[in-house]
């Protein structure tokens, strides 16, 4: 219980830190939202009038107080300066696309990582292991934007199998639209998972208790699935929690490459137009998500692994 309370208080500190940091950082960076909305040829009077209207001429502390008040009373980070709509509404409208992409990416990453890690561990230091090591190095080194562009060029433009970008309408279309972006994220994420899982598998499969199982005549597939994989899954789960930040960042970039109108695209746009409330909303939400998932992974790890529960956690990654 103590652990849970501490986790929650840590979470609150992080989120509060993000809220404050983003609020002030955005306002330190040069660039005027009113000017971005009205364009280069608007008169200074028009810009000034819009600044008044948007409340940008109030002092920073007043703006911050109003922001915090609204956050607690409405659960919203403010009215978008650009569209005049609630930022919460704008963000929630786009959340399904981003969540869908995270889900699809995870699915692909795991379905690439688990079989390859198993293969590499079983053929430890033999050809398959070497090939997989080379592949993971390539995957890690490949910028997500680049792999995205390659995938589009091949599967969308050349072969015409899948959409080049955007979210299609009709049954099954949204999923089809997420396949290439999901693979692009998975190519970056899977290698990290493969490395960790492979190392754990090798450690577990050479453990004495596994040798004992073998000696007792337990079938090899049963050892792999019931015992080895389970033993190695835990650290990988924790690693997955830690990778959430990568996953969120990765999907945001990939949204841009594949013209998916999700939270990432909205974030890019809002930053370039200095739409403060929307940027704050998205960063707040992503920070919450990252912190929550990391905390859940930690807690889960502690619950499942007696070593962590009893004493300090071992370094897992």
């Amino acid at each position: 219980m103590n652990r849970l309370l501490r986790a929650i208080s840590r979470l609150l500190v992080v989120v509060a830190g993000v809220v404050v940091a983003v609020f002030f950082l955005l306002r330190i960076v040069p660039g005027d939202p009113a000017r971005m909305i009205l364009g280069e040829r608007a008169t200074p009077e028009a810009v000034e009038q819009l600044r008044d209207q948007l409340g940008l001429n109030e002092s920073l502390s007043q703006q911050f107080a109003a922001f915090v008040a609204r956050l607690f009373t409405h659960g919203d980070t403010g009215i978008s300066l650009v569209t005049g709509e609630s930022s919460r509404g704008l963000i929630l409208e786009r959340a399904p696309i981003s969540l869908g992409l995270v889900g699809v990416s995870l699915l692909f990453a795991l379905s690439i990582a688990i079989p390859l890690a198993l293969l590499a561990a079983r053929r430890h230091n033999r050809l398959p292991d070497h090939i997989i090591r080379v592949l993971t190095n390539i995957g890690v080194g490949m910028p997500i934007v680049w792999s995205g562009v390659l995938l589009i060029a091949l599967f969308a433009v050349q072969l015409g199998w899948l959409p080049a970008g955007g979210i299609g309408k009709g049954p099954g279309e949204p999923f089809r639209s997420l396949v290439l972006p999901g693979i692009a994220v998975a190519i970056g994420l899977a290698p990290v998972l493969i490395r960790s899982l492979r190392a754990q598998l090798i450690e577990v499969q050479t453990a004495e208790w596994v040798t004992t199982l073998r000696a007792a005549g337990v079938a090899e597939w049963r050892i792999t699935w019931r015992h080895v994989l389970r033993g190695a899954a835990l650290p990988t789960l924790t690693l997955l929690g830690v990778s959430t930040a990568y996953l969120v960042g990765g999907t945001f970039v990939v949204e841009r490459v594949f013209a998916l109108n999700g939270m990432g695209t909205l974030l890019f746009d809002s930053i370039s137009t200095r739409d403060f409330p929307v940027v704050q909303g998205i960063t707040l939400l992503s920070a919450l998500a990252v912190v929550l998932i990391t905390a859940v992974a930690d807690l889960l790890g502690a619950t499942l692994d007696p070593r962590i529960r009893r004493s300090q956690p071992r370094a897992v990654s």
């Binding site: 840590r10 500190v13 992080v14 830190g17 993000v18 940091a21 983003v22 950082l25 960076v29 040069p30 660039g31 005027d32 000017r35 971005m36 909305i37 009205l38 364009g39 040829r41 608007a42 008169t43 200074p44 009077e45 028009a46 009038q49 978008s80 650009v82 569209t83 704008l90 409208e93 589009i152 060029a153 969308a156 433009v157 015409g160 959409p163 080049a164 970008g165 955007g166 930040a245 960042g249 841009r256 490459v257 013209a259 109108n261 695209t265 909205l266 974030l267 890019f268 746009d269 930053i271 370039s272 200095r274 960063t283 992503s286 920070a287 990252v290 912190v291 990391t294 300090q312 956690p313």
Partner: protein
Amino acid sequence: MTNERPRLRRALAAIAATAAIAVTLAACGSSGSDPTNGSGGAAGEPVAGGTLVFGRTAAVNDLNLHTQIAANNAFAIDKIFEPLVSFDESGEIIPWLADYAESDDELTYTFTLRNGLMFSDGNPVTADDVVFSLETHQAVADSPLPLTAPIESIEAASETEVVITLDEPYTPFLSELSNFSNGVLPADFGGKSEAEFFENPIGTGPFVLNEWDKAGDISFTKNENYWQEGKPYLDALEYRYIADDTQLRQQLAAGQLDAIDIVPAANAAEIEADSSLRLSQTEGWSAEQVFFNTERAEFADVKVRRAIAMALDREGITQATTFGTAETASALLPPSIQYSAADDDIALPYDVAAAQAELAGSDFPDGFEFSLMVPSGNTQRAQIAQAIQEQLSEIGITVNIEQLEIATFRERFFAYDFDAMINNGQSDAPDPNGFITFQADPEGFSQSYWTHYTNDTVTALMEAGRVTPNGDERAEIYLDIQKQLAQDAPYIPLFYPANLKATTSNVAGFTVLPNGSVRFADTWRVDASA
């Protein structure tokens, strides 16, 4: 407590990472793309029906015709609202919602509305609607596309006749009136509040708003009551928001889009080579330029500016950075603007020896160092900057290129906090007055495009140009202005960018106006089943 430390570090890392994402994104910024446009379609008889999906790099966030000017909103607004007069592809003023007659003293303009003209909701357009629309626009204090003409009165002479009287002659009047900001809407906003009205606007334009995501896509349906018989051909028009121009081309190639709003000059050839696509390349109303802040000591010296103008190989820069899609600038006004001196050979010639001599006679004979500001994410401008850097090193001037994210870039030049910058001058109408005023009026808010340039001769000519009737005398005035600007070189026009857009081969009648807007009323799908 021992296990708290890594956790805390991780927590701080999470804060730092989130903040870093925000800041990095701010730094890499948007690929500042101002829409430009392109060409006509294939031949054949127009076919009615179908939907056209048009990809653009910015979303539509406001449809108020009186307060908006930026292309993202402007080219949606002009599908819904139309002015009394308009201009064609070559920039000629043409009657639109009304026919007009001008009195001999050039003070009275009588507009007669087309027979049976209706709003998209089926209500008739009356002279009262026109008076309300123009007066409402006049009352908007900071309209970015204002009616600056000295208007004495706007009156409904009958149900279908509007008389506009001026205090004194004002030659650019019709040109100004052709801006979409003078579009006609129902009197009293059809009984709604202004804010409500612009959420679901009613106009006379070829298209009617259907669905609208202010940070995303917008779609229109055909205006069944449109005044041009048989138009628009399309049943529906969708603007798909796709921030990245690479994605635009990929989706066009994959057949997900029918047309795209922007093709970078570097990719024009690749579109042209693709038999399933059509490149649309048309003349625009803009000029890419180097601007000097004449409040800096070096650039206050006209000899320095002239030396730089002569040291730049504009022809070479144009070829290298626009891949032959643009015309090298030889005067401020693009050829598609009335009275352009682009064919008069008035620019200072490219001559490095003359440039060196000019600099030797200035207050900075040994050269100097300055910073050239360009918006980041714009490959073409970065390349121009590099060419300038290289060419000016020949005459002993060191250029430091400063790439700034667009919001920062704007903030800097509005504050006159720059030495020199690369930017783009443009017009919204075919008359030269707007372009010249924005770039040479020391009293205007733009202070001669943020250069602080003042020349009393130019100012006097500019004022004369507004009241002199069209003809040889007015032509002479604008020639003199352009000559003086070329000699003083407060800015150096480099080239006139073309409007570059693309469609699939299924699209015809893709008519692009010089301001970069597509006249979708004229567009059809050749594959629409009749």
